[in-house]
């Protein structure tokens, strides 16, 4: 698996690994049922401590993206099932950055709510479509 590690980026290595696997899932490079490399195998390939890969896999499991049945390996899950707290946390953090951005741009809370309602209405009109205004990092 091709994963780029930048030990100087300030982002912990386990998060870099987890995020890039998550991106591979989103991009369809990895599909449901695919087996991920074993912990030792991936650690040696990337030249990182195996504990780092364990942590990355645990993170992905917590996010409901993979499963690690004991002794059988690591597999990509059919459909991401997020725990309720994680689900709330993600929306919350997306909303917080949205609120901060709106504040910087001088929106009043009323204007922001109005804009949000408009987006939600549009989505209801076209279910399944990604609204164009959505920021690329929303939902992470």
């Amino acid at each position: 698996m091709w994963i780029r590690i930048d030990a100087h980026s300030g982002v912990p290595i386990y998060l870099q690994v987890a995020r890039q696997i998550e991106e591979a899932l989103t991009a369809g490079v990895l599909r449901p049922g695919d087996k991920l490399p074993g912990v030792r195998e991936l650690a040696i390939e990337l030249a990182v401590n195996p504990a780092t890969v364990v942590k990355a896999y645990d993170e992905l499991q917590r996010a409901g993206l993979i499963e690690q049945p004991r002794g059988r390996g690591t597999f990509v899950l059919e459909r991401p099932v997020l725990p309720e707290t994680e689900r709330r946390l993600r929306v919350r953090s997306a909303l917080e950055s949205l609120a901060a951005e709106a504040d910087r741009l001088g929106f009043t809370p009323e204007e922001l709510l109005q804009a949000l309602q408009e987006v939600l209405r549009q989505r209801q009109g076209h279910p399944g479509e990604e609204p164009e205004e959505e920021k690329p990092h929303a939902g992470r």
Binding site: A7, H8, V11, P12, A43, A47, V48
Partner: protein
Amino acid sequence: MLAVSVRSLSKTFGPLTVLQSIDLDVPTGSIYGLLGLNGAGKTTLLRILMGFLRPTGGSGEVLSLPLGRLEGIDRARVAYVPEQPVLYSSMRVGELLRFVRSVHPRWDQAAAERYMETFRLPLDRKVAALSVGMRSQLALSVALSTRPQLLVLDEPASGLDPLHRRRYLQVLLEECAVPERTVLLTSQDLELVERMCDHVALIHEGRVQFAGPVEEVLGREKRLRVTAGESARETLAALSGVRSLRPEAHGFLLSGAADPSSVQSVAGVTGVQVFALSIADLFWSYVED
């Protein structure tokens, strides 16, 4: 279980104090990185652990034996690779391996041959004619072939080109990321330590400044960007856990274990941004501040 443990260890050379008071515990099975600037005393510490130097004060154990008592078959359970490995340079690689095999009680010939293949080291080449990278790889191969319980590496992989370095680190991980083997290494290479080590310590000004599992060490300290007026300075500096406070354009950069909410509640503070630290950040915050 600890592979290495030292308490209040000190070492002076005449008027020069290199190690003031070192406390260090290296758990069995860890890959332990010792950081420090040139002259911090890392190599001196390793040489004391190996029994080449006698400490001026303090005590310690290596593989449960008191310092200086590592002899014979016990000594054979420890492999030490100095920064400039002493290899018999007039021998050919194959001769060198046969020689160590004849004198070392724990030698694993099959492993030695495997490493020669992995590193593509030519058995018929004189050691003196090997490149720097190949010589490092040979030294690591010899050390690993003695199946050490404790592997002590002084500045491993330093001066290697990216390809030799990568293979070196991969073999090191493959052979050492196992519960029964402990690696204690020193390095100036923050990236290497960040990648390879599960435990880390910084020796600075004769003492261990921080030590422990990487996650724990990084979890203890944060960097906070505090937006505040000059008036908040004294209160901030006096907060518990604050190790350094550097002025910035509209506030301060605070390093340490301070609680963000208590920082937030200081009069005059209008904003707090919390940054997680990497090993490199932590290293710099100790040696620069």
